[in-house]
């Protein structure tokens, strides 16, 4: 087929590790990075979250650049992209045919805190500024594209980058997602009573909310066969995004938006429901989200397709989630492995879905990644192994 778009380098930085391999080694052993956080600068009470080691971040970043010149968010983006690019030296980041696409929900939001006042120029609060600095770091002169669309940002960014390559605007895209744990975000989710009292339990009968996670992820896309590395080639097929048109802070009760995104993604990709081998679901472990997903997948004819949520391993990484979870699921597809849904025990959603409850061997050709978020947005994308 002409003009295929491939993923040719992936990275994930979470509490579990700074590469996809480090993350999947822990995931295979059912080790979680979610833990009790007792940090009054993040929230007055103890809570469960997944945080990245500051010491390791500073150490690894110091080898690349002066850590005082970049924010925590920017360090995560740069380090993630750097680690992904290490796997594929063929990608020329300084080329005018390479574009940087950045996905985030809140970027440098911690710069609003009193204690951060004066550390950086005022325009550093803006996402376009961070994106410029990241592109500059890699010697790229194209204007970076910044996607900020709540929790679907990551999936949407991969999909948008794919379309830009497909339409011929660029040959390569370095798609980086990131979000940090901040007092801003923790207090907001707590005010919604969305945070779990312990490690989260996706799709479980006793699920009681989500865990926030810090993270960054990178997926490098190319339309040039000669830019592939020696990993099994993975095609990025179509993606789609739909709104529920129901409520700004809750998903539709019927799952209609996600259903539309999934069915349109399959149609645009030329893939039928029975050809999907695995679903990497959003699975935040809030009551309404997981319920809604079960309805959407079941309506789309995907009840018997194995499905997991990775949130139990490193929480909800917001604008990074779609990219981190795609990177890890692509690795699972290459190794013919389905990862566990950590935290899930007793079936707790109204419609039939098939939840992966242990590390499982399965040959996969096509996998579906989905995400849903505030504002009623839903996104889906399909990856396919050649």
């Amino acid at each position: 087929m002409m003009n295929n778009i491939y993923s040719c380098g992936e990275n994930a930085i979470t509490s579990l590790g700074f590469t996809v391999e480090e993350n999947t080694e822990q995931i295979k052993k059912d080790i979680t990075g979610v833990g009790l956080v007792q940090d009054k600068s993040l929230f007055p009470e103890d809570f469960y979250a997944s945080l990245i080691s500051t010491q390791r971040l500073e150490n690894e970043f110091s080898a690349l650049a002066n850590p005082d010149e970049y924010t925590r968010f920017e360090k995560l983006l740069i380090l993630s992209a750097q680690n992904a690019l290490k796997q594929n030296p063929r990608i020329d980041t300084s080329s005018n045919k390479t574009v940087f696409v950045i996905s985030t929900t809140k970027g440098n939001i911690d710069l609003l805190e009193e204690k951060q006042k004066g550390r950086f120029e005022p325009d550093r609060i803006f996402m376009w500024k961070s994106a410029q600095l990241v592109a500059q770091f890699f010697g790229n002169k194209n204007k970076p594209v910044v996607v900020s669309n709540a929790c679907i940002s990551g999936v949407l960014a991969i999909s948008a980058a794919r379309e830009m390559l497909k339409a011929g605007y660029y040959d390569n895209a370095v798609v980086i997602g990131g979000d940090i744990a901040s007092e801003f975000v923790v207090s907001g989710f707590q005010s919604f009573k969305s945070l779990s009292f312990g490690p989260c339990k996706p799709f479980d009968l006793n699920r009681d909310g989500l865990n926030l996670g810090e993270g960054a992820g990178t997926v490098i896309l190319t339309n040039k066969l000669e830019n592939l590395n020696d990993h099994t080639p993975v095609l990025v097929l179509a993606g789609a995004c739909n709104n529920d048109a129901n409520h700004i802070s809750g998903p539709s009760r019927t799952g209609e938006g996600l259903f539309l995104a999934v069915t349109r993604t399959m149609k645009q990709s030329g893939i039928q429901a029975h050809e999907i081998d695995f679903i990497s679901a959003h699975g935040t472990a809030t009551s309404f989200n997981d319920e809604m997903e079960s309805k959407a997948f079941s309506s789309a004819g995907l009840s018997n397709v194995p499905l997991n949520s990775l949130k139990g391993f490193f929480g909800h990484t917001l604008g990074a989630a779609g990219i981190i979870e795609s990177a890890i699921s692509i690795q699972g597809m290459r190794q013919d492995i389905l990862f566990n849904t950590l935290g899930y025990k007793d079936y707790g959603v109204p419609e039939k879905i098939t939840i992966v409850n242990k590390l499982t061997h399965k040959v996969q050709k096509n996998i579906l990644k989905t995400a849903s978020g505030f504002g009623g947005c839903n996104a889906a994308i399909i990856f396919s192994k050649q």
Binding site: V147, A160, M164, Q190, N243, A245, L260, Q268
Partner: protein, 221 residues
């Protein structure tokens, strides 16, 4: 197989525009609202909404960014017949913005700065995502299609054109509400266009091609 979903020579037409500035509102070429003297953004938006749009109590609960976008969309769609003309997932929204939700972000931060006076509120926090303004417009108009917000230092004709064109070319959309909705302090600006595929457009309406030159010309009007 995939090629079936691509159309060439697909014309996209701008069938209407709305612009909101701190002292006046334009519907196509016409000034439809003018503030007599400089007023607070919230007062300006509320007064304009009451005067120009049918009652919608939820408007008054929105943050300033959503109020701006929503007011713009109500004027843009007030003589349109989108819900009956297109399938519900064939209309979408693509917005650009520079400052994301900086105004309401500061409000939320103020509720958590002091441990003695700590009162984060879900009704404030929910607006700290720029795509919430799209959600509000989708709910009101029952729009189920593609949604995207891109953050750009300035209004970027090239990016907007490219992203909207891709959605029409790949048959994801037949109509799109697209443009710029931005507020930072007392500076605010909305520029929204209704873009429709040529087959669907009533020939009697004033229209121009959706291309970078026309977008630029209309934005700078």
């Amino acid at each position: 197989m995939l090629q079936l979903f691509f159309r060439n020579n697909n014309n996209m037409l701008i069938t209407k525009t709305v612009q909101i500035y701190p002292d006046h509102i334009l519907e196509n070429d016409d000034v439809i609202f003018r503030a007599e003297e400089p007023v607070d953004p919230n007062d300006f938006l509320k007064t304009a909404f009451r005067q120009l749009c049918p009652p919608y109590p939820k408007f008054f609960k929105m943050d300033k960014l959503s109020k701006l976008a929503f007011l713009g969309s109500e004027i843009l769609l007030r003589d349109a017949i989108l819900p009956t003309k297109y399938n519900k997932d064939e209309t979408g929204l693509v917005f650009l913005n520079a400052s994301s939700t900086i105004e309401i972000d500061k409000d939320h931060q103020n509720t958590i700065n002091s441990r003695e006076n700590y009162f984060p509120s879900p009704s404030v926090f929910v607006y700290t995502l720029p795509n919430i303004m799209l959600g509000e417009i989708c709910i009101k108009n029952q729009i189920f299609g593609e949604n995207a917000v891109y953050i750009s230092e300035k209004f970027d004709t090239g990016l907007l054109y490219q992203q909207v064109k891709i959605l029409f070319d790949t048959c994801r959309l037949k109509a799109c509400i697209t443009g710029w909705s931005e507020i930072n302090g007392d500076n605010y600006e909305v520029f929204l266009m209704l873009v429709e595929s040529d087959q669907a457009v009533d020939n009697s309406k004033e229209k121009c091609n959706f291309d970078p030159e026309n977008i630029e010309k209309l934005y700078k009007r």
